[in-house]
């Protein structure tokens, strides 16, 4: 081992790369949100629909940590239950977006030719059209609204975006010699796609996935604000903000807390995505 040290760059000798404390704080916050959404039923929370007539538009107190809204409902409870909608839509839509956009983008970049031209032209037509308008239009006609329909519509709307990012990332990798090398070693196309290309675009895909979730959560907020998301009284961060608009002057807490929840959630997602991208950005220069 020692005799060959001159030939080998010891990985430990490289400056250790760290993700940083802020990264882990963000991960922790997201984990807290997700766990809260999953276990909302078993947490010691008031029913989010229960109206306490003795505490209407109350500020934060020991009994209602984040206060109550104009109908006397507990805000903390509604934020935790509301995160279910936001997180489900965020993850569900991205599963659809990546489920369709990732294989298509990889295939187009790998095969090139007519398939690539057709798919790319098709996707770019959709990209040129403002997604929010399309989503609003479809959701207005596809009634009655349900969480499932919202997820499907937003998921499909995100396909062109995912496709474009994945296609570009794959193009850069597919042009490199190791792909040709794998090919002349007898690897089939499927093998090249799964074993050679996918691991190499994974860092970009993961960071884009996180930022995509953040975008979708925002979009759900926008839809809810326009009254196009889940029907009241089911809480979601977006419709909580929307409902609090009318009583903002009397009870500013009501708009502050759900906005803060949404804001922190998005901030963490973006930060993690960004941090991961730089972390995995291995360049030969660093050797």
């Amino acid at each position: 081992m020692s005799s060959v040290l001159d030939d080998v760059v010891d990985p430990e000798a490289l400056a250790p790369k760290r993700l940083g404390a802020l990264f882990w704080i963000c991960v922790g916050w997201l984990a807290l949100n997700v766990l809260g959404a999953i276990f909302a039923n078993v947490l010691p929370l008031v029913n989010p629909l229960y109206q306490n007539y003795n505490a209407i538009n109350a500020g934060p107190s020991l009994h209602h940590w984040l206060g109550t809204d104009d109908l006397g409902r507990d805000i903390l409870s509604r934020i935790v239950y509301g995160s279910r909608v936001s997180i489900t839509v965020g993850i569900g839509a991205m599963v659809i977006g990546f489920g369709i956009g990732l294989p298509l983008g990889m295939l187009a970049a790998f095969r090139r030719g007519r398939l690539d031209s057709l798919l790319t032209a098709f996707m770019y037509v959709f990209l040129a059209f403002p997604a929010i308008i399309a989503v609003i239009a479809v959701l207005s006609f596809w009634t009655p609204r349900s969480l499932f329909k919202i997820i499907v519509v937003i998921g499909l709307a995100s396909v062109p975006l995912v496709y474009r990012v994945i296609r570009t990332a794959t193009l850069a990798v597919a042009a490199r010699d190791f792909v040709t090398a794998a090919k002349v070693q007898g690897a089939t196309d499927r093998r090249i796609l799964v074993k050679e290309l996918l691991p190499n675009i994974a860092p970009i895909a993961v960071s884009f996935l996180l930022i995509g979730v953040a975008t979708v959560v925002t979009l759900e907020g926008v839809l809810a604000f326009l009254g196009l998301s889940v029907n009241p009284p089911t809480p979601s961060w977006g419709n909580m903000i929307n409902e609090s608009r009318t009583v903002m002057a009397q009870n500013p807490w009501l708009v502050l807390f759900p906005s803060l929840a949404l804001c922190l959630f998005l901030l963490c997602l973006n930060f993690i995505g960004d941090r991961l991208r730089t972390y995995f950005d291995v360049t030969e220069v660093k050797l």
Binding site: M1, S3, V4, D7, V8, V9, D10, P11, R112, G113, R176, D177, F178, T180, A181, A182, K183, V184, Q185, G186, A187, T188, R191, K195, E196, P199, N200, A202, V282, E284, L287
Partner: protein, 333 residues
Amino acid sequence: MSTQLLVVDDLHTTFRTAAGLVAAVGGVSFDLATNETVGIVGESGSGKTVLARTIMGLQPRSNVEVRGSVLLDGHQVVGASEREMRERWATDVSMVFQDPMTSLNPVMRIGRQIDETLRVRLGMDKRAARARAIELLAMVGMPSAEHRYRAYPTQLSGGMRQRVVIATALACSPKLLIADEPTTGLDVTIQAQILNLLDDLKEQLHMSVILITHDLGVVATRTSRIIVMYAGRIVEMGATRDVFFRHRMPYTRALLESSPKVSNPSHTRLRVIPGRPPNLSTLTSGCAFAPRCSSASERCHQERPSLEPAEEPGHVFACWHPLAATELHEAPR
């Protein structure tokens, strides 16, 4: 036929581009015997790499036209589908790429990259493939191969990576190995090591090698024959000795003169070939080298010379005004 592993006959590779047709390979014919090493030299853009890829059957199907014939071990490569070629790659013909930095998958352990081909092509099981991969790594001179089996490419130096690339290319004992500038990305001392390694392995495994380079020093001692290419055509071909000492084509001399020699006094200015390699989409009917050639005449600009035999057996050249045959040219080193 029986002794010739590779017969290339009037091979044309033409790209359809926005700027018109580009004849990257324009009528190349040569053959290669079993266990022979042939060097292909020429400037950048002379069609060496396209020729190599065409012989491999690696051209994209769209926007490229391949005509002529490439018989590899009796099988036609031109027009073969990728599925057909997949049966031949790795076992019949394999390739070492230019840059070891990009020809290894950065996120796969090097051992697995060798394993893959053994398992896919030879149907070995996991354990046998692993043992064979370690054997191959040891064969290409990888120190503590067993340990290194689990290394990632970034943990190895350039020379070590190129050894891994060679091990991968040789995994299925190909009959023909095409090494496309295998030492370009490496420093000079490592270059010699890698070339000697290729030479040893050739003898050990009884394979034929096509060594592509722009560096005549690389091919001087390791090839039996040299093919000089210019603008997609062969301009001179012959035994290594003849090409070095009895070349007839002015381009070959220009190439030889532009390599540095140890015998030169310090601070000797390196001779360069004036002008640039021609644009392949605007080739005229004349000799492609004529615009840069000092002995070019009117005829050179009008008519393209064909390959004519020289006195020595197997030595051919394409020139209207060949250098004198009796002249024993200066040794390159």
